[in-house]
């Protein structure tokens, strides 16, 4: 697994994910929710913001079933799912699929955390 390399914008988001806090940024001026983490709001260009806990839930936008061993230590096949967040429909995340069957379009899903170590949990997805 390639461990994420947090940057100065995202470090706290990853720390919160490690505590299983599911957050996005909320603009302090116009309220727009955004992910990934960064300093300015793309809508109003405001720099005030705070973390907003949102439901760890969304719907399936698309998915792939990966067969080619692009990464030497990732056993294939594995499924990567793209999810649009229920509470923040402008925000999309990708993660691995922890479902008993292949996802279907628009399927409601919920977060399934994968513990890696004290400082890192990955956000994966399973059927709601």
């Amino acid at each position: 697994m390639i461990k994420p390399v947090p940057d100065r914008d995202s470090a706290e988001w990853w720390e919160r994910a490690a505590r299983h806090e599911f957050v996005v940024q909320a603009c302090g001026t116009c309220g727009t929710l955004r992910f990934p983490a960064r300093a300015y709001c793309a809508r109003c260009r405001g720099r005030e913001w705070h973390w907003r806990e949102v439901a760890p839930a969304g719907r399936v936008v698309s998915w792939i079933v990966n067969h080619q061993p692009f990464l030497p230590d990732a056993p294939t096949p594995y499924t990567v799912v793209m999810v649009r967040l229920t509470d923040a429909p402008a925000c999309v995340m990708v993660g691995n699929w922890h479902g008993p069957a292949e996802p279907v379009a628009d399927q409601p899903v919920t977060v399934s955390y994968t513990y890696v170590d004290e400082r890192l949990s990955l956000i994966n997805w399973e059927p709601a």
Binding site: I2, P4, R38, H67, P89
Partner: protein, 386 residues
Amino acid sequence: MRGFCDRTAVAGVGYTAFSRNSWVSTLTLACEAVLAALDDAGLTPDDVDGIATHRVGDSAAPSVVGPALGIDAPAWYLDQFGGGSVSHAVIGQAALAVAAGVAETVVCYRAVNARSEFRMGGTGRGVPVSPEVQYQAPYGYTAPPQQYAMYARAHMLKYGTKAEHFGQLAVTQRANAVKNPRALMRAPITLDDYLASRWIAEPFRLLDCCLETDGACAVVVTTAERARDLRRPPVLISAAAWGGGDSFLSGREPADPTVTSAAELAPRLYAMAGAGPEDVDVAELYDCFTYSVIVQLEDYGFCAKGEGGPFVASGATAPGGALPVNTHGGFLSEGYVHGVNHIAEAVSQLRGDAGDRQVPGAEVALSTAQPGYILPATSALILRRG
């Protein structure tokens, strides 16, 4: 906005051989393609006062290639970061420099050992630095075919686009490559061959994917006036456009994953050329993957949104169809030089020297860059017989 429409021209194109291992440096490849393009134009390095490329840290810089060819103190140069999405922007920026009188003769190149040295997508080298990578790589989502497959499935779900549509495109482009002596893949394929090819990342099979290629390609840009006095028939740059668009991870709007940045760029491009999709005789559309062509057929206005698959299945993109596409075989079958071999093929079609691949009477060509799924930018050119 007619911009610098028809004020500049492509005066020459040049290639190295395409292979899976060039056994030489990207500097050598760049020099070979640049010299070939200059020779095609009837020029030498002494005539060059501008030099440009695009790269992602995987190739020789203009500041190295220029001195290596004795191009001393060029008046203008460009070292554009980026892969396929900026390929046509480099030519556009060269044309802009020429139109502005900053340089008179610019040579643009792309030189890659994309199979033997630096493979795209995290195999054989470090993961490219982009803020989005940290949210994707831990999940094994690192390679362009995975990303394009994700969007291709979204299109299939929304519009009913089928594997057979992707397959028909791959089969048609291979048939074009059979007629192209430069092409790496010249054995004909059938739809059954396509369907039987192994999975890479569902819904993509091996034959949905471009070739990983070692090679280089170069293009000489000069004024339209000067081009008329040179060795080959000039091909006018009627329009060049490049620009941004929302990234799917930009978090600004609920993005539609079935629409690319090309939809935003196309009106500006056509306006500068004073032309529309109905005027285009041949199109070289960025085909890093089959789906990339299908979505661009829609976003550049050749068919309605969602109709790209049936448009291909109708034979419209085959030789003799309403819009022959990727007449050289494209990145799927000729080779993959990150956009520049599309421009060179368009030039060849408009000069009328494409041999067995020639689209009869081709006067206007569209050539496009990666439509913006991976970096939220794209670029394109409309070229016209001079």
